[in-house]
């Protein structure tokens, strides 16, 4: 990695966040910072003693140049509404403002995802387009539209305060998790996992944890992503086919990532339990005082950790997982959670109990192949093959990716009837 590449990885988001606060224009800040990195490519080496300071000074100059040339005057976009435009003496960390602005609820989820990857993750528009399987021009237009809306609708450049913070933080977590799940279980295309996208989401999760310390939901999201991400090499077979959790070669799991997730979760419960903490500290959730505890990400992380901690598939503590899904269903009311709970219950107390929990899910999840595939598996285990066959057919009608289709076809072919 060259010094410029390294500086880009380490400092892009921080510098963009700071520059945006100064020039009050996300677009201008981004272009100026890009100019500065381009300048670094030709000016380094020698690498300056303080690379981020060099980049910041250069970017500031470029922003001024652009303003003087009046290239931006023609756009007539209003200035960003910035909470506190005081010029700082050291390089302060403004990334939270950048994140909250990119993930503002007035932006569509697509726009939030694209902006977050571009501005906070530092990915190029081309990279983001490739990850989401859309033409580069489409992605560029999406990002431009989002930046325009930020300026024209007066979406502020600020970290929300008070009760608003927890709610808006959930929007940020949802954006990062959506990026992760799109990488982890792609909804379209010929590849099932886009590890690069999932890795970006994990990096964003780490950044959030640094910026919002001691928030159990932030820790939960990172732990959750790590537990899933750790299994990436074991989830696909040699020809790109899906390998289910019980059949995965657990020696191919990234143990260090699982350890990191488990210690994150251990630290959260230590903070939550004053007896365990021993410091007399009772406040568990720094930034999120009024949250339900445990929240949805922490519960999902606890579930993922149960799977990750099992040495062999048959060591999995299914009753514990079924319980955790029960709690999760209670706070989310989600049909997908109910589906997962049914799977856990089937493992803990038999496919008949799991099948009962699928009742009533067709209205919400009829277009979701996993509902039909799950039902098919339960029916197969109950020896009701005729009904299982029908369920596989319905799953195949709605399945999205090629590897998942291949998996369903092979399961259907395993039935003794046709």
């Amino acid at each position: 990695m060259t010094a410029v590449e390294q500086a880009y990885r380490e400092h892009w988001a921080r510098l963009l966040a700071l520059l945006t606060a100064e020039v009050r224009d996300l677009d201008l800040a981004e272009e100026a910072l890009q100019d500065a990195f381009a300048a670094a490519v030709s000016a380094w080496p020698p690498v300056p003693g303080n690379p981020p300071a060099w980049l910041l000074t250069t970017a500031r100059r470029r922003a001024l140049d652009r303003l003087r040339r009046g290239a931006l005057a023609a756009r007539k976009l209003p200035l960003l509404i910035v909470d506190d435009p005081e010029p700082p003496s050291v390089i302060p960390d403004e990334r939270l403002r950048l994140i909250f602005t990119c993930c503002h609820p007035a932006l569509s989820m697509d726009a939030r995802v694209a902006l977050t990857l571009r501005c906070v993750g530092g990915l190029t528009t081309r990279e983001i387009a490739r990850m989401f399987l859309v033409p580069e021009a489409t992605m560029a237009a999406r990002i431009t539209r989002a930046k325009k809306k930020i300026a024209q609708a007066g979406i502020p450049y600020r970290v929300p305060a008070g009760p608003e913070l927890a709610e808006r933080r959930d929007g940020v977590l949802a954006t990062v998790y959506l990026i992760f799940t799109e990488g982890y279980a792609a909804t379209g295309g010929d590849r099932l996992i886009r590890a690069d996208l999932a890795a970006e989401a994990v990096a964003l999760g780490r950044m959030l944890r640094e910026l919002l310390p001691a928030d159990p939901e932030v820790d939960g999201l990172l732990a959750l992503m790590l537990c899933h991400h750790a299994r990436r090499d074991a989830r696909l077979g040699p020809s790109g086919e899906l390998i289910r959790l019980p059949d995965q070669d657990r020696s191919r799991w990234h143990r260090e990532e699982i350890h990191e997730a488990l210690s994150l979760l251990a630290a959260v419960s230590e903070r939550a339990d004053p007896r365990g903490a021993g410091s007399g500290q009772t406040e568990s959730g720094g930034a999120s005082g009024g949250d339900p505890f445990p929240g949805p990400y922490l519960l999902q992380a606890a579930i993922a950790a149960e799977h990750a901690a099992a040495v062999r598939a048959e060591d999995t503590d299914w009753p514990a997982i079924a319980r955790l899904y029960g709690e999760l269903e209670q706070i989310t009311g989600s049909a997908v959670v109910r589906l997962n709970r049914a799977v856990a219950v089937a493992e803990a107390s038999g496919p008949g109990d799991g099948l009962k929990l699928l009742d009533g899910l067709d209205r919400m999840l009829g277009r979701h192949h996993l509902l039909h595939a799950t039902r098919a598996e339960f029916l197969r285990r109950l020896g009701r093959e005729r009904e299982a066959l029908d369920a596989y057919e319905r799953a195949l009608e709605v399945v999205g990716t090629d590897p998942e289709r291949a998996f369903l076809l092979s399961r259907r072919a395993d039935l003794s009837i046709r």
Partner: protein, 113 residues
């Protein structure tokens, strides 16, 4: 920044509301206006008569065609608007949440300066 809050909703409940219910709804709008006044955010607004009273003028091929009814047929119609001055979209959202209307569309007013 200036925003217009468009109060959008199904007109039927209002049409069917009795005097007591209407009084209650007006009281809620009164409290909303008090909030705007207290925060020095209100910049005027109006309740609109039901969309059944609307007339639309469409210019096509240099000719103005007058028709009965709103520009778009929909269950949800604009029932009123309030112009506000807010620090940012976040404050506009706060006011929209306090507004009694079931649906509020926030539209920024472009700065002419």
């Amino acid at each position: 920044m200036r925003y217009v809050l468009l109060a959008v909703g199904d007109e039927k409940p209002w049409a069917e509301a009795g005097p007591a219910e209407r009084e209650e709804i007006y009281a809620r709008w009164g409290r909303f206006e008090e909030l705007l006044t207290a925060r020095d955010a209100g910049r005027g607004g109006n309740e609109l008569a039901p969309s059944g009273t609307a007339t639309t003028v469409r210019k096509t091929g240099g000719k103005a065609v007058v028709t009965d009814g709103p520009y778009a047929e929909a269950v949800e119609q604009i029932g009123g608007y309030v112009t506000i001055e807010a620090a940012s979209m976040d404050e506009a959202i706060e006011f929209a949440e306090a507004c009694p209307s079931e649906i509020v569309e926030i539209r920024p007013v472009p700065d002419q300066g």
